[in-house]
Symmetry: C2
């Protein structure tokens, strides 16, 4: 704790028996207090990349000693000082060695939140222009170790919004705000700029701890800051106010002021950044619980009902409503929600319906039968327990309604199923949905990458995951990938697809890390009625689909000025369908999931 302490000055004369220069002992606090309330702070003078070899050696010794002490106390984390220059290889080497032998403790590397907007093309420039680069080097040198996180030093001026956004995909654990970064409001109290407020709110949303640091620089009207000599905040109210109390109060106020989470977001809290394997509803039969969850998605069925209404009105003119009966087939009827939506559309439009409910899952068919009986739909609804691809229909349909879409649109094999079902759609019949398109966008997703990496195999890197994306940075607008249109009247019925996309990351973002791609879909149910999860056009309050995530085996850094070229394939074999993907720019990757060796959807 003595800032003048240097191992190289102490060694002589002590004969190896010298007392370590730590103030205090581990008995000052109880073990649970140490582990839950204290973050260790490593001496800030250390500089492992100094030109001075003695200082370098001293720094390494001190770093090791202090981390060992923190580890002995079972602290949850240690704060490491920011690298002193633009070079950090020796610091990273030492931290990496420590990480490999560490218990559960986290190491939080301090990084100033700094990026000059000067787009200097001089790559040989030695001055630090973007502290994200420094972090990126450090964590890459440390093999993306999951116990290495960031404590961001928030300064009085902030980089551009795009540049800030990158940090939301990184493992930021704390934001340290110096009292110097606070403004003064009309009443003399500390406050923050609008942009700082927004940033702090973003941090709250991502469970980033806010730390106030520095000396009180605002003299408060009441003069309570005069008592600053007492550095102990054990006495919350009354005379002994903590000298930084007013800063803390302001940050607390920002927290209180936040909008409460909408119900859907609260429901989804537990799923944030949690990787799930996509469903295989064609190969496997869904469970009752899964049906239960999806059936609760009112918004989705309202959209379907609206689409069916429009289709019925187009199919049967008002004048003929009482005479004509429309044959509507729900293919993949499940436990009946689309049957209900169809009947409600029939009622709403006054069009008469004959419904076939086709379902391959015999367990769902049981529920369907009891539903039809319960609701008294026997005269209208015929239940067919069959796979739509092989059903021999007794007549052709006017309208084919299905909900076979996955998070990536075609990834639950809607195209293959509907290819089969369209045999019994009239030539002028309508398919709801009439088309769907998948979308991808490059993201920084350090947490997801580490979760995939923790499996230590190729298979998990070649799998797409359903995930509620939260701590991610979306680096460029999403772009369409594959589109399927129904009914498909083309002569070439192949459902294979190949798409090459180029993403341009805004240059003011700075360099960014692409851990993989977020995938979405948007479906046109009928005419202007759509349904989707692509962020800019997403149907509000719909919760049936999270995004999909395609990881990259080797995450790629894209520098300003270079673009990201991505290739996606949808491949079809006799028994399975799969995706392959790769990048070819800024540098070529390997092709992932070749032959569907790791991840596929069974036909």
């Amino acid at each position: 704790m003595d800032p003048a302490y240097r191992p190289s000055l102490m060694e002589k004369g002590t004969g190896g028996s010298g007392v370590l220069p730590f103030a205090g002992s581990d008995l000052v606090l109880s073990p649970s207090q140490w582990s839950s309330h204290v973050v260790g702070k490593i001496s800030s003078w250390i500089d492992l990349d100094s030109e001075d070899e003695i200082l370098r050696m001293d720094s390494e010794t001190t770093l090791r000693q202090e981390v060992a002490w923190a580890s002995h106390l079972s602290l949850q984390a240690c704060l490491l000082p920011a690298p002193k220059g633009t070079s950090c290889a020796n610091y990273a080497r030492c931290v990496h060695q420590i990480l490999l032998g560490l218990n559960n403790m986290q190491l939080w590397l301090r990084i100033p939140l700094l990026k000059t907007d000067d787009d200097s093309m001089d790559v040989n420039s030695n001055s630090l222009v973007d502290s994200w680069e420094l972090w990126n080097s450090f964590r890459m040198l440390c093999e993306h170790h999951s116990q290495l996180s960031i404590a961001l030093d928030v300064l009085s001026s902030l980089p551009s919004a795009n540049s800030l956004g990158r940090w939301f995909g990184e493992s930021v654990r704390a934001a340290i705000i110096d009292t110097d970064s606070f403004l003064t409001n009309a009443r003399g109290y500390p406050c923050l700029s609008k942009r700082h407020q927004k940033l702090i709110t973003e941090f709250f949303n991502r469970s980033v701890q806010i730390v106030i640091s520095g000396k009180p620089v605002h003299s408060l009207p009441k003069g309570s800051a005069d008592l600053a000599a007492n550095n102990n905040d054990s006495n919350f109210d009354g005379v002994h106010r903590h000298p930084l109390r007013s800063y803390l109060d302001y940050v607390g106020y920002l927290y209180q002021r936040m909008d409460p989470l909408p119900e859907q977001e609260r429901f989804e809290l537990g799923y944030r950044d949690f990787l799930q394997s996509p469903l295989q509803p064609l190969m496997d039969n869904l469970e009752a619980q899964t049906y239960e969850t999806f059936e609760k998605d009112a918004v989705k069925y309202i959209q379907y009902q609206r689409a069916i209404c429009k289709a019925l009105q187009d199919r049967v003119p008002d004048g003929k409503a009482s005479m004509m009966t429309t044959v509507l087939m729900v293919v993949g009827a499940g436990r009946g929600p689309l049957v209900r939506a169809s009947l409600q559309a029939s009622e709403e439009t006054g069009r008469k319906l004959k419904i076939y409910a086709v379902e391959k899952n015999p367990n769902a068919v049981v529920t369907l039968h009891s539903l039809v009986k319960l609701e008294g739909w026997e005269n209208i609804v015929t239940i067919v327990s069959s796979d739509m691809r092989y059903w021999d229909a007794p007549e052709k349909a006017d309208i084919l309604v299905s909900e076979l879409l996955g998070s990536f649109g075609d990834n639950e094999l809607s195209p293959e199923c509907l290819d089969g079902a369209e045999r019994f759609l009239k030539d002028d019949g309508i398919s709801i949905p009439s088309s769907y398109t998948s979308f991808i966008q490059p993201i920084t997703a350090s947490k997801l990458y580490n979760d995939v990496k923790s499996h230590k195999d190729v298979v998990h890197f070649e799998t797409a995951y359903v995930v509620k994306l939260h701590n991610v940075a979306r680096l460029a607008p999403s772009q369409p990938v594959f589109t399927f249109t129904h009914p498909n009247r083309s002569t070439n019925k192949s459902n294979q697809r190949y798409m090459k996309l180029q993403f341009d990351i805004p240059s003011e973002t700075g360099s960014s890390m692409v851990h993989g791609f977020a995938g979405y879909f948007d479906a046109t149910l009928y005419k202007d009625i759509h349904l989707g999860i692509e962020p800019t056009t997403a149907t509000p309050n719909m919760f049936s689909w999270f995004s999909i995530f395609f990881p990259l085996r080797t995450p790629v850094v894209v520098h300003p000025g270079s673009s990201l070229e991505v290739h996606f394939w949808r491949c079809c074999g006799p028994a399975k369908v799969w995706y392959e993907w790769c990048i070819t720019s800024p540098s070529p990757s390997s092709i992932q999931n070749s032959n569907g060796r790791s991840y596929w959807v069974g036909l």
Copy 2:
């Protein structure tokens, strides 16, 4: 074989039972002829990255059919046409899928040997300037698959020597020379330019097959080319000369003209590009066979003898030669070659010696004793069976002679051993060697990389290998890494080292792939007498040391204009010494072998 054949035109009407349009059957040749004499040639019209989807699909179908046919015939290789444009992702995807399901057959991708010297900085330029980039993309997309190789099309003009050099580190299997690339000599016969001749010789040296392609364009004096109609080379002499015979004869002449391999190279043929684990002579005891091999290295002992002569002459003036006895200790005497060299130096200079031969391997000590008896050295040589680090010497030495060097100098722990032995060296005593320095240089070494990769673990990527480098491209001059000086009189006795190096690859080389680093050493035995394997200063005809190879887990492409920054650490623990290494430019890698987790040398 019909160039007009397209799967999309054939499918209609055949009902799936159409005969494949292959000429000939597999009965034309015997199975062993197919597999040893024939390389398949895939239809050259295929273009899997065409904008035309039909052509793309046809190309994929044809490629799969033809490779399947070649595979059915157990051909050793198939020649794939060069990618048509600068984009090759879909071609690579298809080839990668095929490779993953292939038997032992190789796929040779044709690549024109082409690089314009225009150092255009326009990265968005779409024109192909460097075909190596195309190859690099293709193989990276195919995950560096070991069955994917190159057939280089040698054109009439050649790129710069540095640029050509890159290919020597790649898996080039064939060089195809078009008859158009031949010149005509004074007698009317085809010949090649000096630069082409040199290139062909290099190819011969690397077992690259030479293929002559095209039509005969030289009308020979004898007119034998007039018989060109006969395309069958079954009749070697007489009337039916093959129309390309004169080209083949010329290439044969180039082969005949090559210098025969020196004896040492012949001896080392079997070790070329073969990875060996470095010796651990300190932790393990060497075997008799190993001593036998190393003792044969006459050049090495001549250098030692020369150094000892100089040291003796410096130590004892001519006038005092008969009076003074020099105490010389051979530390790590093995089976005695340095004892012999010392005695020969004593004889040569007329200086009197008292020799201690210190050896820790009790098995070698047995041989030492019988050698001393056999040679009658009992009065001069004292044999000490002890580890030099712990020996309690009865007197101090004037000269300490050791040969503890590994391929990377200090990697067999010479510094640690000599730290122990220097206890019994007089203050003004001499150590032979007096210093040694390790060197590294970045290399392309596709074969070595694939051999390391084939183990499918991290451990092998974090190991340094002893290897006779042959099929490698040395991308920049080597640079010194760590130096140790003996005796070491400094107060800081640490043998830890850290070195940061920057390599600039000549810009005319073009982009290059760094698979890792070749390591060497150079030792100063005494004054101007040195010994080493650093290529530019290597001691000739010495075979005790091959190079060392430090692989990179993720090979890195260095583009012209950016430099390669490398960090090497020598780390010392209580029981082991190890290296860690990483690169930080052009992009940061992970630090390899942290804590010596994969590769270390035991103390």
